[in-house]
Symmetry: C2
Subunit: 334 residues, 2 copies
């Protein structure tokens, strides 16, 4: 990651907190069953950008969290770890779903074992997340996080039911995006605010910020799957296409398609009949109709809303970082 | 089910509570996503014996729960629904695991869609269970149930790692049985006791009862998979065999096997190489070495421990039903 990137700046700003958070994560992953510790460690240590726990930590500070410097596992840090557990659990379960949809008969023993481990270690992390909240003891936190968990599952199921369905409306698509991504972004921020025992207006402002940041983030994710440089992205592009996922770029390209193009999308997305060269053709149609630009434009609208919500807080270095993160989300290439 | 069976008697005894519990279940399954409501309704309405929520309700009464007759969703009823949600979630995820292990290349679109729905609706029910606990507001309940959830996942993972491994020790097998079954039985009882705001000795006595009942229940389950009349059982027998699961009957039969029989077990369980006639041969070896009797005897030891724990409570019709359930668990044929 580029050192100048806002995410890196926020990581630097919260380096001490993040170190404590990683410590809590390692500690709470311990299990009497070896494979659990091993798999969980692998997943979480190798894990991603830690964006969600970072939002929890940052939100706590934005709301004036007063840290006891002798406390090695302060509240906001434990809640940040809880959020990361929940996120990792949903990622693991996503793998099963995406793999199921992709695999279609090309099974392997490895993929099979992977499925079982993904489901069960996901469940374990989910349970651990709730144990962490129980230790924290705030019913309000539990209400928000358990609600978010239900919303995530509903969002994923909604996505599943509209898989391959090109008649999906944009508002239905946004509903999925809210469920699968924005709900947890919002909860991550809100939980941090609650750790600081802030006013309800602070909490609400951060909820709006997190929701809109999450919407922007997912839209950009969907755009990158049709436009990214595979190496820079660090994962394969075209996954959504192969799975027949309905995302914003596809909805735009399909809306603007001529009769022949419509037939193409119906074959590859609705019927799931794909040849090797179809992905490149999809890329060219997406380019032709400026579907990536339209998606990023929509993402920018959400990012701006996220920034607007920050006006509630007095100016500060941290508030600026929150703003930069929102803008950067739309310009990222990872 | 035979009207005279203790389970039916307990259902009759708690008919009003169970009616309320079913109502809470229907109510909390509602979702803005149609498929969630439909799948959840199908699962829970078609659902099993409701043994676990029944234990919650019965435990509350055994501890002298005082019911407000005007309250249509009393505490113990909501907690019983929460336990049923959790149980159904684990069943759904079990399906994915068992199916993965069984399927091995014989994929179907239906099985694939089933996997995704099972994972996600399981997650939804898990989240709903935590929402119900949050509404209830008792941190002690949350601690017990989130701990049980983690233990269940650990037990299932342990089971997965010892799949096909005939060198598994009996104590390791019992660890799995505790995790996959007894932990939730114990939590079901304990949560009912907590709803009644009982003394901690009552809670502990019911924890011991639930744990041992659960151990007995799972041992009998494992025995039935090698001995039951398929029609009476209402599900296929031989599933454990086909999946290469290590259960008590297999451990006994393998321990007592001669050289040729050992080779048989190693081929079918360790290598997973099974022919059509192998299940019948396994049945005959299990019979030859009285492995079912040994399993049921072990189950009886646990059932007796469960009954012993009840001595803590004064004699009553309900206490007798708890006793009958424990004994009946060992003699059931379903």
């Amino acid at each position: 990651m580029d050192k100048e990137e806002p995410l890196q700046k926020l990581l630097d700003y919260l380096a001490a907190d993040m170190a404590m958070c990683n410590h809590v994560i390692m500690d709470k992953m311990k299990s009497s069953v070896d494979l659990v510790s091993q798999l969980a460690a692998h997943l979480i240590v190798a894990g991603g950008k830690r964006l969600r726990p970072l939002l929890t930590l940052a939100s706590a500070h934005l709301c004036g969290y007063e840290q006891d410097s002798n406390d090695l596992q302060p509240r906001h840090v434990r809640l940040a770890a809880c959020i990361e557990f929940l996120h990792t659990a949903t990622l693991l379960h996503d793998d099963v779903i995406d793999e199921s949809m992709l695999r279609r008969g090309t099974d392997s023993a490895n993929a099979i074992f992977g499925n079982s481990a993904s489901v069960l270690v996901g469940d374990f992390l989910f349970a651990r997340a709730f144990q962490l909240m129980t230790e924290d003891g705030s019913l309000k936190v539990m209400r928000i996080v358990s609600q978010a968990s239900a919303t995530i599952a509903e969002g994923e199921i909604l996505q599943m039911t509209m898989q391959n369905d090109l008649s999906t409306s944009v508002s239905r698509y946004f509903e999925v995006v809210y469920g699968k991504t924005a709900a947890l972004f919002a909860a991550s921020c809100r939980v941090g605010a609650l750790a600081a025992e802030c006013k309800s207006q602070d909490e609400e402002a951060l909820d709006v910020y997190g929701t809109n940041l999450g919407m922007a983030f997912q839209l950009v994710d969907d755009a990158l799957d049709y436009s990214a440089d595979q190496e820079k992205l660090g994962k394969t592009v075209g996954d959504d296409f192969r799975e027949g996922k309905i995302t914003y770029p596809v909805l735009i390209a399909y809306e603007k398609a001529d009769a022949e193009e419509k037939k193409f999308w119906e074959r590859v997305i609705e019927k799931g009949e794909q040849n090797e060269e179809d992905l490149l053709h999809a890329f060219s149609l997406i380019r032709k109709h400026h579907a990536i630009e339209a998606t990023l434009q929509e993402a920018m609208v959400f990012a701006n809303k996220a920034c607007d919500a920050l006006a509630h807080f007095p100016e500060s270095e941290l508030r600026n970082l929150f703003q930069d993160i929102a803008k950067y989300t739309v310009n990222r290439h990872f």
